[in-house]
């Protein structure tokens, strides 16, 4: 067995880079800890002193609103000092390499890096490079992984459904380009969801997706039948320009979630979306704003889950 670069020698979590390969006990520990952080947002003073004196650097090499903001709020509620760096192409083009940037910030006494990068593996590279006391959280790398999104999604599912062992979950849309879908699939299968379905046209599925333990559907009407959870993925506009899809209207007709299609799922099914949503492309507004939608609670739970991840890492 190869050594998991995310784990310390004693098996505790040192970095969070991907959900792939993490034992169920670690995922459950993160979810249970996040449960404890929910009450912090009910406090008059929405802060706990756990990470007082720690410096957390949000390194965002790729645009993000929700993820960066919720990481920032999470770190601040843990009393850490947060430094946000939105590093665009122009500042990188000054010639400093990614690892030089990291070395310079480490020299400023960084304790943790939260990294978003367009290149798959960027967070891994930083994790291999940093000094032993520094922790790295992957906030999305290329098409590879977005582990805290996967964790907040399973946290949301557990909040509404209680258990994992009796669920059918459908993930609908552009799985091929989606790091979110990969992390969701790993989280769901590790936690024991017996039936994870992916629903997409062949052109938006990675080759060999069945090997991740999912059931593949190309027809949304079949795939949604009797599911407990529907997770919609964002259709990135740039995909439309290539030859993968005819048009957004055509896509909406076959793979957009409408009330009529949602009626095929179980009556108590919940609808999720990692955001940002393309209303009228992958999801109809009446569903996004409907009573089965838990899209905004996902955002709120994201704060508690990120607080859990950061405090567990910092303590290990």
């Amino acid at each position: 067995m190869t050594i998991n670069p995310q784990l310390n020698a004693d098996g505790s979590l040192r970095h969070l880079l991907t959900i792939d390969g993490l034992p169920r006990a670690i995922l459950t520990h993160i979810l249970d800890t996040a449960e404890g952080f929910i009450s912090v947002s009910e406090q008059e003073v929405k802060k706990v002193p756990l990470l007082r004196g720690k410096a957390i650097f949000n390194l965002f090499f790729e645009a993000s609103t929700r993820t960066r903001t919720t990481f920032e709020i999470a770190a601040k509620r843990l009393s850490a000092d947060v430094i946000n760096l939105n590093i665009n192409a122009s500042s990188q083009s000054k010639g400093e390499t990614l690892l030089d940037t990291v070395d310079n910030l480490s020299a400023m006494q960084a304790d943790m890096f939260v990294v978003r990068h367009a290149q798959s593996g960027a967070a891994h590279m930083i994790a291999r490079h940093v000094a032993p006391h520094i922790h790295v959280v992957n906030a999305g790398d290329g098409r590879h992984a977005h582990p805290t999104q996967g964790l907040l999604d399973v946290f949301t599912i557990r909040k509404y459904k209680g258990e994992f062992h009796n669920l059918r979950v459908a993930i609908v849309g552009d799985v091929l380009h989606s790091r979110v879908a990969r992390s969701q699939i790993h989280a769901l299968t590790t936690l024991g969801v017996p039936e994870v379905r992916v629903i997409a046209p062949k052109t938006l599925l990675p080759v060999g997706v069945e090997q991740m333990g999912v059931h593949v559907y190309h027809d949304m009407l079949q795939g949604l039948k009797d599911v407990d959870v529907v997770i919609m993925l964002r259709l990135q506009n740039e995909r439309m320009r290539g030859a993968r899809l005819p048009s957004s209207q055509e896509y909406f007709k076959y793979y957009g979630l409408t009330q009529e299609k949602l009626a095929l799922a179980r009556p108590d099914a919940i609808v999720m979306h990692p955001g940002p949503m393309n209303r009228g492309v992958e999801i109809d507004s009446s569903v996004a704003d409907g009573k089965q939608s838990v899209i905004l609670p996902q955002v709120t739970y994201g704060i508690a889950v990120r607080m859990a991840v950061m405090s567990i890492l910092a303590g290990n």
Binding site: D32, E35, S39
Partner: protein, 166 residues
């Protein structure tokens, strides 16, 4: 060492606490032993307000040394803390560090009018902070290589246990 029964200590505490209650008093148990003790005390005290439960994991002072406590439990305070007369319940008072953390946690929910402390066991000697309990079930001297705490069986009955620290 002969340990007193948890039930008799709870009955004794209830008798001592009862004359001091006001309509503004609420019970807050500290996870986990203190919550169990609060659950048993509550029906003996005729308090209308449900009891609260407090987890102090995020306020401990040993995070740097041992990291996050393995079992974080949700804090539930089903009342306004602001202006309240709070009776904090724990199973054992020893170094006083947990009570310090609990008071800090409570103040992040509001400014209580008063906080008092009731414990089943006051483990005397080795207090590390200037903290004392208002109500004590029994004062005990426990050897430093031993640990005393409350346990709960399948019938929800409470019992005190001494264990050797390995």
């Amino acid at each position: 060492m002969n340990l007193p029964s948890a039930n008799s200590l709870i009955a004794q505490l209830a008798a001592a606490i009862k004359p001091t209650l006001t309509s503004n008093t609420v019970l807050v148990g500290m996870h986990t032993g203190g919550v169990w003790a609060a659950e048993h005390l509550h029906p003996l005290l005729d308090i209308n307000m449900p009891h609260g439960s407090l987890d102090i994991s995020f306020y401990r002072d040993d995070f740097e040394r041992i990291g996050l406590h393995a079992q974080v439990k949700p804090t539930r305070l089903p009342f306004e803390v602001e202006g309240r007369d709070i009776l904090l319940i724990d199973d054992v008072l020893y170094t006083g560090r947990s009570v310090r953390a609990a008071m800090n946690a409570l103040f992040d929910y509001g400014r209580p009018a008063k906080i008092r402390l009731a414990v089943l066991i006051d483990r005397v000697g080795d207090r590390q902070l200037p903290i004392a309990a208002d109500f004590v079930g029994a004062a005990l001297r426990v050897p430093s290589h031993q640990h005393i705490h409350l346990v709960r069986d399948d019938e929800l009955q409470l019992d005190l246990k001494l264990v050797d620290i390995s």
